[in-house]
């Protein structure tokens, strides 16, 4: 069908050879563009302070300055930042997994008056920007003495674990056949038993998905720590530590160390992505399509 010489743009698209070259060229060029900043980051993180300012830039640092990573790690107590972040992360994972699945079970498997109204509210809060409540929440949390503690960054997650996560798990629970629970009902099991013993174990893939999103969200969060932990360097998270690290060298920007520190912050995220790619894709499919 593509024997004749194409003349119009639409005919050109239907020309198999042109089409293949077009797709490959665009995707390859695009991939290079997307990857270039990463390459730049890694390359710069291994340069000496002098090589950073050489123009035109060299892509392969010679010799690679691995000590940048050690210097970045020790100039500021990044080990403490990592520990602080992990404490928040652990609490949030527990909070989100238990709380969100609990609520999701109610929305998905129990029919009660007012459920649809509350579900509509849930969806509305997924859409509503959290930024709107930033100021009044800060006022309230400072009134009750929660500023300079991790409580504002963790306690809210015990109350539902995030509307989006409830929504995601609810969609998953609804795909499980009702018969699964029937036998348990006949045996007189309570809803809590069915939720905890039957449904939760089956929801492992969906739980893995939200556990990963929670990890990314907590690890990457900057606004929260900035509002509540910025006064005490011993309480910094990695994100906050890196942001403050920019100005750690009076008057001069140490791009070499900054790039090394940024790389270290990115690596765990990319690692988790590669290990758990399947769950990422699953979460995207559920959130974007079945909504």
């Amino acid at each position: 069908m593509s024997a004749s010489t194409p003349t119009t743009p639409t005919q050109l698209l239907d020309n198999e050879r042109f089409w293949r070259i077009f797709v490959w060229t665009v995707l390859l060029v695009g991939a290079c563009v997307m990857f270039l900043p990463f390459l730049w980051l890694m390359s710069s993180s291994l340069k000496t302070e002098l090589a950073i300012f050489r123009y035109p830039p060299e892509w392969i640092p010679n010799p690679p300055q691995f000590s940048n990573y050690v210097d970045a790690w020790t100039t500021r107590p990044f080990a403490i930042y990592v520990r602080n972040t992990l404490v928040i992360l652990l609490l949030n994972e527990v909070a989100v997994l238990v709380s969100a699945s609990f609520c999701a079970y109610g929305f998905a498997r129990i029919d009660f008056p007012g459920r649809n109204v509350w579900f509509a509210i849930l969806l509305a809060t997924v859409m509503l920007p959290g930024i709107v409540t930033m100021i009044p929440q800060f006022v309230i949390f400072s009134r009750i003495g929660w500023v300079n503690t991790i409580l504002p960054l963790t306690v809210p997650f015990f109350f539902g674990g995030g509307a989006f996560n409830i929504f995601l798990l609810r969609q998953f629970f609804r795909t499980l056949p009702a018969e699964l629970a029937d036998a348990a009902y006949i045996d007189g099991a309570s809803e809590i038993t069915i939720y905890w013993r039957i449904m939760l174990p089956l929801a492992k893939p969906a739980l893995a998905t939200i556990a990963i999103f929670t990890f990314i969200g907590t690890w990457n969060d900057f606004m929260g720590p900035l509002l509540y932990l910025a006064k005490d360097p011993n309480k910094f998270t990695v994100a906050l530590g890196l942001a403050m690290f920019r100005t750690a060298f009076a008057g001069r920007t140490r791009w070499d160390l900054l790039m090394a520190a940024s790389t270290m912050m990115i690596i765990p995220v990319i690692f988790v992505f590669f290990v758990a790619q399947r769950y990422f894709i699953q979460g995207i499919a559920i959130s974007g399509l079945k909504g």
Binding site: V26, I131, W255, G288, L289
Partner: protein, 298 residues
Amino acid sequence: MPWPRTRRARRALTGYFFISPFIFGFFLFFVGPALVAAWLTMFDWNMIRPPFFIGLGNFKKMFADDLFYQSLKVTAYFSLVSVPVGLVLSFFLALLMNFKTRSIAVFRTIYYLPSIVPAVANAVLWSFVLNTEFGLLNALLDAIGLPKIAWLQEPEWAMPAIILMSLWALGATMVIYLAGLQGIPQSLYEAAEIDGAGRWASLVNVTIPLMSPVIFFNLIIGIIGSFQIFTAGFLITGGGPQHATLFYVLYIYRNGLQYFDMGYASLLAWVLFFLIFALTLLVFKYVGRYVYYEDVGS
């Protein structure tokens, strides 16, 4: 409270028991703070002195505040450019990727990775990429014979730079499209081909109508997200140069946490809420009607 006798009432109680964490959270961390903010809009309060009632004083201040208008303008500029460009570009890439089924995983990964880079690391990386003297972007421009640009020092270039940076993360939108594209039954394309439709015709008549709910979803999420941009302005440009990147949320943050003008910051937050709400309604009303839903009612 007596234990309800009917099965129906017991179910209702169980249901509310299960969703109770969400209900409590909704009131404690959303409705409560929103009401506090509404109340604060009528006060002048720096969190140290007692609140001083000024009625509509904050409203008057807002309407006379040049930076308020500037931050609205800046945010609208960012939103109007980055959302449509991001939507079209990521849709286009997803389309191409969808045809190359075998290498899709590799491409998908490369395009998706930038979108999970932590915002702070992203900001640090891009401040260096955009550096006038030694940055990657100017090195590339220079390599193809174009003049260097002072991206972060020129008021007219700072926003394009931030938009460029935000487009680096378009992979997040792209994978949502990709998941949608893979859900379109192959038989529809085959039917279109039998009817003599070429690639362009089946894109316009099959793909785009069937993808319209996903496009709409991404549009809404994109708009809401774009209004919340903060970290880039806060860390890379500090709102400058000459307030060219004074994003709305950054301006709220400044009023609240740097000037401790809590009443005014609360008002700005409420205004943002209404803006996003109104915009979402408008989009639902005027764009939503073009969305094609298969088997409505099922």
